[in-house]
């Protein structure tokens, strides 16, 4: 037997018992930051539609039957079952689902996936009339930590410094790294396209802290000092993301990223260091 055949056998035997976990699809979708929800107009019993068609019907019936027997057919044509799309941008996922249901729209998808989400966009827009069967799509993003206000305090830390002009990205996640507690959020420039961040911060405790430190960038990382603690800084990660990671204390690690695009607009390395220097533990 040739060595490559023996090796192939050994590899096959090594992974023979391995199967992908059954909930992988759910995990992938959950891990994906943004979710798109879809609603479809329900076939019947549209409250909004009933109100909308009531007026033309009344008008037609109040007129003398001068037009002859075409009136009934005409009435049917006027009786469009259109639904006026409600405005749900900014609402929590469950609230948006409730409002859209009340408007006669049907939700497709796992509702549990959006319980901690906030709706960021919708298509068609609020106020538009849609015929039956048209899908209304919502784009939502996770806000696992709720409304963080200016976003600077979360997961046991406070961010004292951020580059001017950034605002909280209204997005947050938890359980992002390892088995311990970990949290993350982003800060964006106003007007950034959906899902585009400028600065992201991850906080990790205990086992997760070890994991966060373990995932240090490999290439071009330089040792840096963050208020007396050893950290590592890299500008050579995938796509040019700038990142710094360090331990605030044993069992509490923080990683800050600056997106490649934003790093080009500012002095990425200097700003990264300033953000890191300004982070304190709150507990």
């Amino acid at each position: 037997m040739k060595i490559e055949d023996e090796l192939a056998d050994a590899m096959a035997a090594h992974v023979a018992g391995v199967e992908a976990p059954p909930d992988l699809g759910r995990a992938v979708r959950r891990g994906h930051r943004a979710h798109v929800l879809r609603f479809r107009v329900a076939g019947a019993a549209l409250v909004t539609a009933a109100v909308a068609v009531a007026v033309p019907m009344a008008l037609n019936f109040s007129q003398p039957a001068a037009g002859g027997n075409a009136a009934t057919g005409h009435n049917r044509a006027v009786m469009s079952h259109n639904v006026i799309v409600p405005d749900v941008v900014g609402m929590s996922g469950p609230e948006a689902v409730r409002i859209l249901r009340e408007a006669g729209l049907t939700f497709y998808g796992p509702e549990a996936a959006i319980t901690d989400h906030v709706v960021e966009g919708q298509n068609p827009a609020a106020g538009e009339q849609v015929p039956p069967g048209v899908e209304v799509r919502l784009v939502s993003q996770s806000q696992a930590l709720g409304d963080l206000g200016d976003g600077r305090e979360f997961g046991g830390i406070r961010i004292g410094y951020l580059p001017a002009g950034l605002e909280w990205g209204k997005w947050s996640g938890d359980d992002v790294v390892g088995d311990g507690e970990s949290y993350t959020t982003t800060f964006n420039k106003p007007g950034n396209a959906f899902g585009v961040y400028s600065v992201q911060v991850i906080v990790a405790h205990e086992e997760s802290a070890a994991k966060l430190l373990d995932h240090m960038p490999e290439k071009g990382a330089e040792a840096v000092d963050v208020r007396g603690k050893k950290g590592r800084l890299s500008t050579h990660t995938e796509g040019g993301t700038h990142m710094i990671v360090w331990e605030l204390r044993d069992g509490l690690a923080v990683k800050v990223f600056i997106s490649p695009d934003y790093a080009k607009e500012i002095d990425g390395v200097a700003e990264l260091k300033k953000i890191a220097e300004g982070i304190r533990e709150t507990k």
């Binding site: 590899m11 992938v28 879809r38």
Partner: protein, 169 residues
Amino acid sequence: MMLMTDDDEAAFDEFLAARSTSLLRTAILVCGATRHDAEDLVQHALEKVYRHWPRIRHDNPEAYAKKTVVNAAISMARRRKIIREIAFARPPETAADSPDLDLRDTLIGELRRLPPKMRAVLVLRYWEDQSEESTAALLGCSLGSVKSQAARGLARIRANMIVTEELVR
């Protein structure tokens, strides 16, 4: 953010059902990490696939997913290299310290000792039975590099196996 249709979602589920086990197995072999870490890695790679799904689903999504998984596995293996080298540092002639060590375990042990990219070449070529051309495409390297890495990888394993056998005798 691309919008996913119901059809896209269903196709993604089908893709996962058909391919995720094979991707996970490849990840385990290439990164040499624990199954838990390999699952994390595959999940992250699949999130990337999911993000671009409407665009790539009609254009060989398996190759895209495999490329993402293999390259992430190589990166992970490189990050872990230092830790592993400390943990397993020993001269090659003591590779098999127990005569009872199963041949397959020894081979896997030798495979793990190879540099990550070399290991990836062997996994893709001999376990997945990929051609030299597609291995090169998946790893983003030249055909020549695949040929030489495969030959050197096998030669190293063979050399260590001979040493092992001599010790066992």
